[in-house]
Subunit: 472 residues, 3 copies
């Protein structure tokens, strides 16, 4: 049953974090340790100002192939990314593919966007280090941390420095699109994305590179330690320590699992019940509004939320489409990640209200269809006026105005935003800036009659998502 | 009556901000959304270190003229501004001048410093989007957001990304001096000040520029959108949409109002009563000490405080002068702006205690008279030792020591500080650093007798503002 | 008795900070004013990214000599320091040496690491500005702020902008190693360390410099003001004001005290009793877990903690050594400094668990003995693999993995960390990342059998400090 219901397992390792000197307070430390209040500013170093004179749609520029999947990387030196303090990658994990345990220096938000088929998944859980009475090696029962299932439409939060692995249990490719926010306060390094793998081998694969080729690979953190000192550290013989360093491993960062992955965990067979329990937990927290961040430890934090369900849309216009957002009110860990996300669908020819993000940048990734997008700078020039197609990405700088109009086949997107409570200021529609201005100010500002200023103010009663061609 | 009582109307548009997905929580979102805790660090990019070897008084370097006023801009590339992460502008709005709706990427603090004549002003208020039952275009009654009156001595808080307009209802020029703090955590763009106007036209005016001339203009955010898509967005005909783009408008960013501006708002005629109500509200909040930022929504936030009243002085020396400060204890929104202000008056030849700002920079603007100012760096050198005259500005870097001595005609200033709770460490007087050191430490440090160290410690019993020539 | 019991006096001046306009709320302002929530980001300016391709051990590159001591300064332009946003200095204060009153722009953590002999010290205290009834100059009784004694193993917190002085009452040299964290949010200046002395003279000593020599000196903040205006400010005659400017003083920044320093303070003779009172206070706060930062004023803040006592070790392995940490749970002021520290001792050939700091950099200073240290980057390369010897320092970048193995004579170190709740992720041992991964994930990741993956997981039951050669 398990195999037919669940496609992906994601483990975000957390209890392995500890704050020496306060183990008794681990529960508090877990979250508090990554509380933005506590964190230092990291040294940002840029050579020049962000002109944003011209914005382009972007596609991945590099790919890293592995035994059971591919990682595609957008060029993080593109001005759009540098200026937004973010980077983006797309992982394609083939069936039975295991994305090796790794962590990064930036906080990440990962959309599970194009799995092959819509199935139901289970939740598995096991918090190893809390088990008591058992110890020593060779036990029949494995002990490890919480394992989470993901499904299409899930958004996964990946805190900086936290180890995670991903396994595709399904029958078709799993595609994950990730925004990595290196300007997160937790990152004290520079704005380069650094991916630290705990397994794999870079040396071997680097030799396979064709001269002048662009093929890349990821390193293995353990390969940097000497084999003897590693053997001492793990108290194993040097031959086994060599395996940790992965010297003869050339499978890359996504490996194929030989047998079905066995996860020994108490609730592994819980399936839908667990899922429902998750839902309840989610509802409860939703009702509370927002948490102070102390009542949850990072070990048990919710790191996942599904925003694909139409019933969860925040804006719904039967003639235009819908928008659902995920912010730290809904998923509290986002406070620490300083990220939020928006999932939108526009029907044929529908448009979004022209708007600006007043406290964040926006990174729009096109999931399906195409749209005409216009982005306008403070000088009143359109720095982007073009088509955004499936698989492409565009960055909307903070306070720049933006507008999307779906093509005839409609348009779907996910927008990552660099603030956990990103605020939107619409310029048209019922909750717009224009609506808040007195008629006389509008009339004088636009040099028009009071009647005309009323048309401007009250022409659209819709919010956020506008139906096409109303006035015709 | 209204016209004789009120000079200026300022509207800070706020309800147009919303956080999609949590409209029911708008009240919380309003403020919480811009809480510094929540905000990301913006990418700061500088090419070199701040040497502060030599500081100069600065005057505006560029001016942008418009139909009914002028904006003068200090060069934001001056090391003093770059290093303080701030910029400064001065607006002169002529009678009947309307400063068009705009917002900026930095948080701003605006001093209403030189109106032509001392009058009393009224407070107008109207919160449009809360009205119920009415809808559609063409209503006789206008609905818009709160409108505030300002008067001399007012300090206005302008949160980043929040739209505001200003109208001069008086008989003489209105002068506003503004500090824009681009290092505010809310700004994720670079340190350039970006002013986004929602009306006006840049193209037209740019053509009028003489070749090689320095005349500048501001853009119109709406002019970057296509006319047809704009017509769709506002659901008006393309002709009217063209007017939003301001293509044939050459009045600039401050326009002359044709008839007296009609603001349809419930309390518009309230006048002095409203003013008194404001005062009461202010007192109440003052008593509470400081707010947690959640009890006020941005829609109803106090964004204004007058610090001109002698009775409000924090330091008063009948022989020296007085200093009044405005920080986030008094005006809670300043927590989010991360700015505070000080208004000071020195009588003829009086001096301020030598002091340093331990957690902020200071930007001193001279309102009237002149003073000799000395600023000392960590190397013990005077990086500035000169006269500060009316209309000039000087930046005092954090932890650098500063001292002001008024000229014979006295001296008045406003000092903007880049911390909402800027702390001052005086080096002389009753609450000084020197006063806190043991006599023996002073005697050994300055190689003097214990009696001499006592003279140094107890020579001045005054605080902050010193009378001239006491010892003579 | 006093002289035989106490070696060092440190005064951290605090009440001299005030927030104009809210003197009645001084208690709150003191701490709240430097609360990270309130602080602005400072402009960080770097020319290039931090490559960390190669890390080296570092020794001080410059020395500043004075009458009664020496300050040795590590080159703050070293990539390791620039990228960590920190700098380091070492002060050697000879017996009867007085380090002149000074403050810096960065928050500091100072380890009292190598005093000459283990003695007991007294605590002296006197809060001058709270005394009432007395005033005027020439009183027989001195009034000043709290004076603290320090001893070996103490860690001193020095908030940015707060004046402090240090006096060595002992019979042998006092050595202080200081980390100055310029990336602290309180610092709005650039990342250069700026030391502001309130006494001493730079001019005189600069003349003594040999041509081309590297000898340096510190400035005197008061020397930058004119003598007359300084005389006016302190209300003393110009001759005495000249002494404040130190024009004829060539003793440098550490001067020799002529007679024994007399500190007139109520509890100055309290000795061990005071010490015990301090202990009690410390225990009480320890029990409370952590403070909200509002219940203490900066005037009475605990700024000192001893982490040398073996009983206070957080990790103790009788076959390996011990580690004690000091974070903001134990010393709340560290929340504002955004720093923490770790004191470690490894016995002969013992090793630390390989680990990474997930939310901070680490600056390791070797106190005694030597160790082989390996630091590994994200590419899996050892960016450092060498010996760290007494008096040397090495920077471990955030998320880079590190491992230390003591030499035959053992190894002692202090590690400063740029987060007040620095989190450690061990890669081996009982609380490690590897321990949290399911066996099947390990087996597939490292291409090994399930039995082998169990050996990797359960080979070490120790935590943090590992005994040498267990498996032999």
């Amino acid at each position: 049953m398990a195999s037919s219901l669940s496609l992906v397992l994601v483990l975000v390792l957390a209890t392995s974090f500890f704050c020496v000197g306060c183990l008794a307070q681990l529960e508090q430390v877990g979250t508090r340790g990554i509380h933005p209040q506590q964190l230092q500013r990291h040294p940002l170093r840029f050579r020049e100002k962000c002109r944003y004179r011209r914005i382009d749609t972007l596609e991945p520029s590099r790919r890293v192939e592995a035994e059971a999947g591919i990682t595609e990387i957008w060029d993080e030196n593109e001005e759009q990314f540098v200026c937004a303090g973010a980077a983006a990658v797309r992982h394609v994990i083939r069936p039975r593919g295991l994305f090796l345990p790794a962590f990064t220096n930036g906080s990440g938000l990962q959309g599970v966007v194009i799995p092959g088929c819509p199935e139901t998944y289970e939740s598995g859980e096991g918090s190893g280090s809390r088990f008591r009475g058992e110890s020593g090696r060779g036990e029949g029962r494995d002990r490890h941390q919480k394992v989470r299932n993901v499904r299409e439409g899930d958004v996964l939060a990946l805190p900086a420095g936290v180890t995670h692995w991903i396994y595709n249990r399904g029958q078709s490719d799993l595609v994950l699109v990730s925004l990595i926010f290196t300007s997160n306060e937790a990152n004290q390094l520079d704005n380069s994305v650094r991916q630290f793998f705990l397994a794999g081998n870079s040396q071997q694969r680097q030799q396979q590179q064709p001269a002048g080729g662009q093929q890349e690979s990821f390193g293995n953190l353990l390969s940097g330690f000497g084999a003897n000192i590693l053997a001492d550290s793990f108290n194993v013989d040097p031959g086994l320590a060599q395996r940790l360093r992965g010297e003869v491993d050339n499978r890359g960062h996504i490996v194929e699992v030989r047998d079905e992955l066995q996860i020994v965990a108490p609730h592994y067979e819980g399936g839908e019940e667990m899922e429902r329990e998750w839902e309840r937990e989610r509802e409860t927290e939703g009702r509370r509004g927002w948490s102070n961040g102390l009542e949850e430890t990072i070990c048990t934090l919710r790191l996942r939320e599904n925003i694909d369900d139409p019933k969860r849309a925040d804006f719904y216009n039967p003639r235009g489409g819908r928008i659902a957002t995920l912010n730290s009110f809904k998923l509290p860990i986002l406070r620490h990640l300083q990220l939020s996300a928006e999932r939108g669908i526009l029907y044929s020819d529908a448009i979004t209200a022209p708007h600006y993000y007043s406290n964040s940048h926006g990174v729009i990734y096109s999931l399906r269809g195409r749209a005409r997008v216009q982005i306008v700078s403070d000088s009143g020039e359109a720095v982007f006026d073009g088509e955004l197609r499936e698989g492409q990405l565009v960055v909307v700088p903070q306070t720049f105005a933006v507008l999307k109009k779906a093509g005839s086949e409609g348009f779907e997107w996910i927008c990552f935003r660099t603030n956990d409570l990103a605020m939107v200021s619409p310029l048209a529609g019922r909750l717009s800036v224009i609506r808040g201005l007195p008629e006389d100010v509008l009339a004088n500002a636009y040099d028009m009659s009071r009647e005309e200023s009323r048309m401007i103010k009250y022409g659209r009663e819709e919010v956020a998502v506008f139906s096409p061609g109303l006035r015709d």
